[in-house]
Symmetry: C2
Amino acid sequence: MALTIADIGKAVLDTEYAVRGPIVARAQELEKSGMEIIYCNIGNPQALAQKPITWNRQLLALCAYPDLAKEAASVFPSDAIAAAKAFISGSKHGIGAYSESKGLKFVRDAVAAFIKNRDGIESDPDSIYLTDGASKGVQAALRMLIAGTNDGIMVPVPQYPLYSATITMFEGRLVGYYLDEEHGWAMSRDLLEDSIETAKKAGIKTKAIVVINPGNPTGSVLAASNIKMVIEFAKDHGLSILADEVYQDNIYKEGASFMSFAKAMAELGEKSVSLFSFHSTSKGFLGECGQRGGYVETRNLPSDVSAQMLKMQSVSLCSNLPGQLATYGMVCPPPAGGPSLPLYRQEKNAILEELKIKAKLLADGLNSIPGFRSNEVAGAMYAFPRFELPKGRTDNEYCMALLEKKGICTVPGSGFGQLPGTAHFRTTILPPRASLEKVVKDVAVFHAEYS
Amino acid sequence: MALTIADIGKAVLDTEYAVRGPIVARAQELEKSGMEIIYCNIGNPQALAQKPITWNRQLLALCAYPDLAKEAASVFPSDAIAAAKAFISGSKHGIGAYSESKGLKFVRDAVAAFIKNRDGIESDPDSIYLTDGASKGVQAALRMLIAGTNDGIMVPVPQYPLYSATITMFEGRLVGYYLDEEHGWAMSRDLLEDSIETAKKAGIKTKAIVVINPGNPTGSVLAASNIKMVIEFAKDHGLSILADEVYQDNIYKEGASFMSFAKAMAELGEKSVSLFSFHSTSKGFLGECGQRGGYVETRNLPSDVSAQMLKMQSVSLCSNLPGQLATYGMVCPPPAGGPSLPLYRQEKNAILEELKIKAKLLADGLNSIPGFRSNEVAGAMYAFPRFELPKGRTDNEYCMALLEKKGICTVPGSGFGQLPGTAHFRTTILPPRASLEKVVKDVAVFHAEYS
């Protein structure tokens, strides 16, 4: 009589999300039974001892309880009080009321100014939607793009499984394109053409291409020329672009820098390719995963399509206001000359410097293990090393055994996609240095013994 | 080349959500041009001058910036500091890290205790999922239930359009059942049987029934006998129940009281009907719409179905942590004997008393207008009066004209569903008393003149 598994649709049953799959569930069991677990499976900085940025937390405390500006004024720097007052006044009703479906206009104005300042190009606040983390923005864009079961979305291999899960859930077709592991996980026009051609032969109508830059799980940072190549490719094939740029502040490689798709499109003078760009408060140096702040900026969308996007956002009313405030704090750091700036800079630099050291520590450490090879972790928060797998074993078995033996929780490469015949896992660079050193040592011992 | 409206799927195009539809958009335009608007369209208490509950805001401030417990200890009551410390410790990493996909175990334990205390029955924290407002919980349940384009969901007429929008988006079939306006919007077994029979003849496989109690938009409070009738009906037809109970604290009618579906099922000894019950921090006396806190409790779900539900939650990682904290504050009010309790009680009672006065003021006022008839607003936050419409006019035209002439923003009855040939609008009871009195006066003048 009760709901049974036979009542559940194929789209739901087929959806997979490896980052929180059976290995993580097993890790939690082992932890409960007393084993010490190092969670390398997910980019969750504050669960791995990263401290929040004081500026953001002061804004949240002041907006949550505005009396603090009077009753505890001495605790807060004057610029934090001023910023919180600006938020309360700009939002009209503070953090307790629903905002417009797109998010507070005041915050969208601030995001547009941030993009302008970052890229030197105009941004339209009415084309920005504040979302519960970037995930919800991605899902909104895919919901718009997948109109039928033959609609395909190009997704990198390896990819972040939010994409595969959401495409499955919306009953679209995943069109994988390979990243070039031998060349630092770069994109290649040949590989893109191969992919779309294969999809076409299979009767798939490809609608869009997803690019994750800096790369998850790859840790790569795309060159400007690579980004422009993708834009030309999208233009030639009439595709929209989903640019997942949530790691834009996480660049570690000397000489590398972040270029947004919006800026690259402006440099090319490209105005016909529809673009959805995503950003988040969860990554970078804020690491505010729990506050679920983020936005999607759209470009080159006809107004009737934008109206549909707005309508879909309105069904869930609005994204959470503390997350909107976190986004505000991200795009409006302390003002120059104000009392909060020195601490902010110190906290930001310390986090990014530490991540840079750990990115090198982890990649070098993995490369020192016979049978392992990792590209440089140029950006983002992950290494995705390739390793030799004994015949007859799967990467799932390998990662489960690594967890059982050593308490190291990683995500198997098959959860992200990989070249047939190769094996990888994803590990974050986030654990404290001593833990990461232990991870490297334990993986080396485990790998030598695994058969 | 850019994405065009022809690329957008029928499910998206067909989705409608009247609460934030064209009339609200027009209201915002008029407001920008200087007209004073009374927003009666949405249950957004803090946008209509309701103050937040101090207890909840103190918890959020303390969890956002834990140093306050030391640096501003004198500002906070000791029980608020203790509760915030319990949250930080129970959550392990505070509000900045992703939680488990279901939400913090610590908070789910507290929700289970709240349900046990409310209903006198056991509740399993592992069957509770913390969600971004109740809306996301409803969408999760409907995602599970709608497996194909012939799957039907029974929804009251009138209903809250989250249901119709989500059913359309997931390409299911809406099976409307009428509420009995002549009898205080009660449910009737005959009307339910009519509805499911009609659906069956149309080839629809009905999977579940949605009940909103207290009612949105109707303002009704269902009798226990009515609730038990629905459970028997669901059992006889093998349906799951979605119990939208977000207004459970909003009861104004003398002698009326809230009974949860969970409790009614326990009293019936019913263990075969699958139940999804929803609650939210947005309504009640908290009115924390912006914080997007809420939960769904499931009962009588087989474990393989629960596993699917958990997997779907994991794709978006977790609900926002400030919202989880708001939920914690809702289910854990200040402890007896603590310094926070007197103020909490005073704030809570003042809000609920004021809502009760306004519920009566609005219903009585509307009933004093010739051509209008409203049921008593027994609960929730809305009146849904029936009014005479001049021949050839639609309720959409009527509400748009009411906005243009008087600055009163309501939602036409057709956005919720109504008996053919009848006309209604939904108005909240939330505006301050003086504004509500103005609403009644202006509607009377407008209605007399409208042709």
